[in-house]
């Protein structure tokens, strides 16, 4: 055996070694119980968050200080992740993913018990909190969102008024007419797609449920063709297609700029964007910074009515959960409870409270006046929808298909809308059959 062979063998062995990693044993089932005596809970906990801005400007520290008034022995540290989904995905392979974290989109619902400690049973938690079924596996709840979000159009009230429209449009056709009036009578860009930033386009999936005011909309995605004639997603996608096709969107979507779009909307250079309630506070801040009136930022529901009433869905933001490997589950649980119930985080963000008995925030006053019906989608089929979505590579929560849709509408891609949606529908329903159930 000469030296070359030995070398080759050593290298070969080194290559094979790591091939056996990656399948660590899994623990299953643990509870994070709420502490009985707040003054006795102790430990250092790490809280992961996506709010880089709040960590940098010290807001999170102020929350922690407030938290320590009730729980003096718990030390809270924050880790802000800029690219949360990508970074957390890798950390989920280890045991080190903080004590409190936001449930990443990549984790399958059925795997929740392997990664997170339960916060209690659904029967008990759903009396007090909204959105419990979004994280419920086998009757146990694994996460809680500190605020609720609602999709809708952020719009500049002044611009819409200048175009002569004071009432919210009630049908997609009326909405298009409104945008056309803006184009004709003002200098504003009627609609901004934020094509380049990608994720704003994915929020068009949240039209699901509001068009027909149907709490079972998610279940329908799992069982039928989401792009069937008259279905929610088709109505939404057709509206987006028409907006772009009629030249009512920005001239060059491929170089659009999300950060710039905020002050531009505030100043009235952009009239409308489909986003969500979470964006209101950011756009108002942008207005203050730009020195224009923050009250010009308005919020309106999707242009569709059932029995003469608008309808809007309320869903959770990221859900906070306790790491199953945490050494201080009680302290972590205490943080989640306090942050959800008492921190005032929802009010600071002009968001919807996760508590069932809390009133709606002031920014949604126009919604109350207009009698908009608010519904929560039943998420029991949520895991299945996610599975079909990934398997079929359609990506209803990914930017690609809407980017293709916009390309199609502005002629950068050949084909018709009907064929495009039918293609998506076929991919979706074919996968449905393979996935079974």
């Amino acid at each position: 055996m000469n030296r070359r062979t030995v070398l080759a063998m050593v290298a070969g062995a080194a290559l094979l070694l790591p091939g056996c990693t990656g399948t660590a044993g899994s623990s299953k089932g643990a509870d994070a119980k709420a502490p009985d005596d707040p003054s006795q809970v102790s430990g250092n906990i790490t809280v992961l968050t996506v709010r880089t801005d709040l960590v940098q400007d010290g807001t999170m520290k102020r929350y922690a200080a407030e938290f320590n008034k009730t729980y003096p022995k718990v030390k809270v540290e924050f880790q802000a992740l800029t690219n949360y989904e990508a970074e957390i995905k890798i950390r989920m392979n280890t045991e080190d993913y903080g004590d409190v974290l936001l449930i990443p989109g990549v984790i399958e619902k059925s795997d929740y018990p392997k990664f997170f400690a339960s916060l209690g049973t659904e029967a008990e938690r759903s009396k007090k909190y909204r959105f419990t079924d979004f994280t419920t596996v086998d009757g146990k709840v694994y996460g809680q969102s500190p605020n609720g979000v609602m999709p809708g159009f952020i719009y500049n009230k002044r611009v819409w008024k200048e175009a002569g429209i004071s009432e919210w449009p009630t049908t997609p056709a009326e909405f298009l007419a409104g945008l056309k009036a803006i184009k004709a009578r003002t200098d504003a860009i009627p609609y901004y797609t934020n094509f380049a930033a990608q994720w704003p386009l994915t929020s068009w999936t949240f039209v699901n449920g509001s068009v027909h005011c149907d709490p079972q909309a998610t279940t329908k995605l799992a069982t039928g063709d989401p792009w069937a004639e008259g279905s929610d997603l088709r109505v939404g996608d057709t509206l987006l297609y028409d907006i772009v096709k009629e030249g009512l969107a920005e001239k060059d979507p491929t170089t659009s700029n999300w950060e710039e779009s905020k002050p531009r909307t505030a100043k009235g250079e952009i009239a409308t964007q489909w986003l969500g309630t979470w964006a209101i506070v950011q756009f108002r801040d942008a207005a203050k910074k730009a020195g224009v009136n923050p009250d010009d930022i308005g919020f309106m529901p999707f242009p569709a009515q059932v029995d003469g009433k608008f309808c809007s869905t309320i869903g959770p933001d990221y859900n906070q959960a306790v790491n199953i490997h945490s050494q201080h589950k009680e302290a972590a649980r205490a943080w989640i409870d306090w942050f959800t119930d008492k921190s005032g985080y929802d009010k600071d963000n002009l968001a919807i409270s996760p508590l069932k008995d809390a009133p709606m925030p002031d920014v949604l006053k126009p919604y109350e006046d207009a009698g908009v019906k608010l519904i929560e989608l039943d998420d029991s089929a949520g895991a299945e929808v996610k599975l079909i979505d990934n398997e079929s590579e359609v990506g209803i929560n990914k930017p690609e298909y809407r980017q293709d849709l916009v390309d199609l509408a502005r002629g950068a891609k050949k084909g018709s809308l009907d064929d495009f949606l039918a293609g998506l529908g076929k991919k979706w329903t074919d996968t449905q059959k393979n996935v079974g159930s």
């Binding site: 290559l15 790591p18 091939g19 990549v106 795997d111 060059d252 170089t255």
Partner: protein
């Protein structure tokens, strides 16, 4: 390198050992002589194995599973991922996009060769021009992506500059697949030209100067010098550059990913792989795609080496 020199040493020492008494080269010294190169190699080898070969081995292993990237459970699925990869033609159509980058690398090599040749002769401000050409290679690729996003924006730098010359194109540079891919390939030329240029310049400058003088005496002009001295003189570097360019265009990623994210028909094979792994959580399939890309690049390189063998060139 180390291996051959050491072998030569060993051969020289061996006969001496046989005939003479072992006292002259004690066992300890001999062991040390054997071990020393390996001690030097220890650090680089450890790094190489940990950060290059181990991840590749892991990737190959994942390519035979249905792992989603996070789940603690993964199942062995045999060659299923490879089967899916080769039976779905949509996964391979993205290679057409590489054509743009391939064409761009041809332009890039010719331009780099031209600049390197021109700047290897005595020229006013040549060091300044060298700096100008090499500068983009020093800038971070992500930064370049963002800078050029502004450059191509509606009413951005490119439109302004063209406007100064009286052209009001009003063209959405990233708007159609053809225009977008051409623009992105253009950025890629700007980015990598400097690297090729420096390689060529180094090779050209290692050609002995008396060859030029001799050729001038024989009445050769600049073109003859280029054709019969420079080109054969830098042939090894040239083939290397071509191989790097081809594999680079097949695996183009950074610039299109940051600038368009693969929208409007600019999706390359690597972007598609990243999307499979990180958007659709098909880590197994994505690993298989990565392995296939590796094999394709190896194959292309091999074919290329067969077509253009790397002979030793003797100029003198």
């Amino acid at each position: 390198m180390t291996d051959t020199t050491e072998k030569a040493d060993f051969r020289a020492v061996a006969p001496a050992l046989k005939s003479a008494a072992p006292r002259r080269a004690p066992r300890r010294a001999r062991t040390w002589r054997l071990v020393t190169p390996w001690l030097f190699l220890l650090a680089p080898l450890a790094l190489l194995i940990t950060f290059t070969y181990a991840p590749i081995a892991n990737m190959v292993a994942y390519s035979f599973t249905d792992w989603d990237g996070v789940s603690p459970e993964l199942h062995y699925t045999g060659a299923e991922n490879y089967e899916e990869l080769f039976t779905r033609e949509d996964l391979f159509q993205v290679f057409w996009v590489s054509g743009y980058y391939l064409a761009a690398s041809a332009v890039q090599i010719v331009a780099a060769l031209y600049f390197a040749t021109v700047l290897s002769f005595n020229l006013r401000f040549r060091n300044f021009f060298k700096g100008v050409l090499f500068f983009p290679s020093l800038v971070n690729g992500v930064a370049i992506g963002f800078v050029f996003l502004y450059f191509f924006q509606d009413g951005g730098t490119l439109d302004t500059v063209l406007g100064l010359f009286g052209y009001d194109t009003d063209h959405a540079w990233l708007g159609t697949p053809f225009s977008a891919n051409t623009s992105l390939a253009g950025v890629s030329i700007w980015r990598y030209l400097g690297m090729n240029f420096v390689l060529f310049l180094g090779a050209i400058q290692s050609i002995p100067g008396e060859l030029y003088e001799a050729s001038e005496l024989d009445g050769a002009n600049r073109w003859h010098q280029f054709r019969y001295i420079i080109l054969p003189g830098i042939k090894p570097v040239l083939t290397l550059t071509v191989i790097l360019s081809v594999s680079g265009s097949l695996s183009a990623f950074e610039i299109p990913y940051i600038m368009t994210g693969g929208a409007t028909g600019t999706e390359t094979f690597v972007i598609q792989t990243v999307k499979l792994a990180f958007q659709f959580n098909k880590t197994g399939l994505a690993s298989a795609a990565a392995v296939v890309l590796l094999l394709i690049i190896l194959l292309v390189t091999w074919v290329q080496r067969r077509l253009v063998p790397d002979d030793r060139v003797d100029l003198v």
